[in-house]
Symmetry: D2
Subunit: 143 residues, 4 copies
């Protein structure tokens, strides 16, 4: 089954329309990816940055917002690996509101490229990461 990060909408995520400010959903995507590294790959994202010296800037993003979220809502943000290219990774995200019987509130994907943290030079997806992501893909493909 795909990894899900529990996220709680906090007081300051809300905008003047009374709902979650839409760029916060991209923040939720990122938070979920950070948790995914720690939980599923066994490597903190901070370690990837500071010790592996690899950074994963986003070059493309798409998202559909299906339901609005309010303060106090909780979502489970699912993280999927959709594709692994030579230098890029395509991630998929689906947010489900807790207690809604699987009601999807947001769905999106982004493409990140691997670069060195110091010079931002594009590099191949590191072997350890490729293997770990490939193994993860197999896991949730069966679900």
């Amino acid at each position: 089954m795909a990894f899900r990060a529990p996220i709680k909408v906090c007081f300051s995520d809300i905008d003047n329309a009374g709902i979650v400010y839409y760029p916060r959903f991209m923040h939720y995507f990122h938070l979920a990816m950070e948790e995914f590294f720690a939980s599923e790959l066994g490597t903190e994202f901070a370690t990837v940055l500071h010790e592996h010296a690899v950074s994963l800037p986003t070059v493309h993003l798409e998202a559909d917002f299906r339901r609005r979220l309010k303060y106090g809502d909780r979502i489970d943000m699912e993280v999927r690996v959709i594709d692994i290219g030579r230098t890029s990774i395509t991630w998929g995200y689906r947010g489900y509101r807790a207690g809604d019987g699987e009601d999807m509130v947001v769905e999106g994907n982004n493409v990140t490229v691997c670069v060195t943290t110091d010079t931002f030079e594009k590099i191949n997806v590191p072997q350890w990461l490729r293997q770990a992501l490939t193994a993860y893909m197999k896991t949730f493909d069966k679900s």
Copy 2:
């Protein structure tokens, strides 16, 4: 010519990779739209929300990030109106780094729907807004 909002990358827009955190680009899109209302339509976005009682939640988003931004960079965020549907508006954004001779750093578009601020019921694009946006579209189509 299309409206451009000048935006300065601030200290806290930067993430631990040393570049602008990508969800901040969506915030820049929103800031530019807010400025667009005040500057091109003559109506503050706060007035749209609180007096016209209309809110414009985003239901779809796409973006391509072409160049990374660092602290101190300045961009001009162009706002275009791509399409006006019955209840929806499609907006286009292009961010150009100042002093780069038109180097585009980000390009994206989002679809917003018109809803009432109190009940979030979908409504037709208000007539005053449709007219103003249509007039604006004609302006930059000639450019």
Copy 3:
């Protein structure tokens, strides 16, 4: 013992100096207070706002920042109730870095006043809240 909310420094909390942007500590104070309501008072802060129709804007703040935090650090943010006035509550916060043997990274307090959510008129601390906070004060006074 005083309530402690576990908080994880996320990727975007970091500023261009490579450490937690100092206004984020105030956000951590607020997050911890939100968790305090749910965990210790049995009432979600969202319920206080939307059902009790009470808001708690901050009118005064003081903080000392003793250690810098980096991405991946975890802190336990302790919440204390220092004083309950007629319309105001004084809160105390102490953040301890996990795994540091009680190394305090931040200490602060703020004063909030009770107001109605609609008109922002100052009101007395509601009786249910005063009782719950008083009971809580007794608990950690013994610790």
Copy 4:
């Protein structure tokens, strides 16, 4: 006269109580300080960080919030230099709502220490900065 940075409350600065989230005021303090460096000292804060290799983390903060701010409000954030120690600078901030005939909405001060950006070792306030800040203090002392 003391420097004032114009700041516009944006859509996402608002919290679920409908007013500016109080940690955003600290962000406004920081924004105003960033503008102060560029405008009054002739050095971008990014240059201080990246070329002078000096960072100014905050070690103490105090603030009083006198009026709430809503979306669309504009404030002028005044920046004063209160004291220059051996390694520290004490800054004063006062925010005035535009069009209010000098109504103060927030007042605060913070103490920053000078450190190297790479090792965060405490250093003396650099001579160029001490001179520039001292000259600035004389200017507004006369106002």
